[in-house]
């Protein structure tokens, strides 16, 4: 194989020993770029290089905006993005949403840069499809990792770099760099925030989240 092709394959995370895998990865990423533009056409703003590895179901009655390098799965369960009338759903740069997750805003949901949302997560700021009195905004800080099947309840605020383990239900505040688990999620420990992913200096990014914060 040509060394340049190998290099491209490695950049895309392929196993360079097998040409079929490499070709498949490249093809999938290319399809994902095209698919995302079609699937996310209802969004008010989508940054550059959005990739979708499966379907997404978008119901946009308010505002939904996403930053650059959004990645979402959907091969095994469609990703849902919903905003009610007058509600805002904001996704920062380099956000990753895995298959089957559902993100819904009836007031305001802000998901900051580099957040990773695992499969079948549910993030809703209200208990129904319309804004009620108990609807409270959700903020998920930069570099947060929500593992599989995490439920984020109305009013939750998750600090930067926090890790929410699989199957947890998050209510209230989770401090920065915490490792939390259980339902409701309790802090197990605080890790030293060393994430090797991107620059999260809010002033430097051009994401909608950063723009909102500056206002």
């Amino acid at each position: 194989m040509h060394p340049l092709v190998q290099k491209l394959g490695r950049a895309l995370g392929a196993n360079d020993r097998s040409p079929t895998v490499l070709v498949r990865k490249v093809a999938r990423n290319a399809t994902a770029l095209v698919r995302a533009t079609v699937v996310l056409r209802e969004l008010d703003h989508v940054g550059a290089r959005a990739r979708g590895f499966g379907g997404a179901h978008v119901v946009n009655a308010g505002v939904i905006a996403a930053g650059d390098d959004l990645t979402f799965g959907g091969r095994f369960g469609v990703v849902g993005l919903a905003s009610g009338a007058g509600a805002t759903l904001m996704l920062g740069d380099r956000v990753t949403i895995n298959y089957g997750s559902f993100l819904s805003a009836v007031r305001e949901v802000v998901i900051d840069d580099d957040v990773m949302v695992g499969p079948y997560c549910i993030i809703t700021d209200g208990d129904g499809p319309v804004a009620t009195d108990d609807a409270r905004p959700i903020y998920i800080g930069p570099n947060v990792w929500l593992a599989a099947r995490v439920v984020v309840r109305p009013g939750a605020r998750i600090g930067a770099g926090a890790v929410i383990s699989a199957g947890s239900v998050v209510e209230g505040d989770i401090p920065a760099n915490a490792v939390a688990s259980g339902c409701p999620a309790r802090v197990l420990r605080i890790h030293e925030g060393d994430h090797g992913r991107g620059d999260t200096e809010s002033g430097k990014t051009r994401s909608p989240v950063a723009r909102i914060r500056r206002r």
């Binding site: 196993n15 091969r75 095994f76 990792w145 994430h195």
Partner: protein, 181 residues
Amino acid sequence: MSSAELVRRFIGSWVASRKLRSCDVIGRGSRVLGTPYVENLGRIEIGMDFEIDALPVASHLVTGVKGTIRIGDRVKVAHGVAMCSHVSIDIGDDTSFGPFAIVLDADFHGVRARGAPADPRPVRIGRHVHIGAGTIVLRGAVIGDDVTVAPNSVVSRWIPSGVRVAGVPAKLVRGLELVRR
């Protein structure tokens, strides 16, 4: 058994073996509903009378380059089940999985450093185990024989044989008196 039933079974088994053809070993008498997603860069071995559903949501079996999934005889897998292996997932005979169960032997990336490679640990599930709907079995989990895991639990540690566990993380709810040996 009527001859029509025999023919139906034969055809079903042939269809299943076609749909699971990416697996390295597949036993006789398998049955599929819908088309499960199989991505096999490592090794997948499946025993006899394997049943897997992929409707309404596809189940998937995925192995990385060094991953192995070994499934025993008469295992039943409901729809939406995810199994992803970076080292090894061993599943004993007569085990069944409820809908949307997830079995992972790696976290896909470091906990602190998200760019760092994952640290996989093998998962072992014994015989006659029932994994409830929506249960997540995480890396390093070792489940004994005759265990019932209640729906929506999270299992990440060792669970002895013959008990029932539930919760996040899964705790014993019944069966200390049933523990064999």
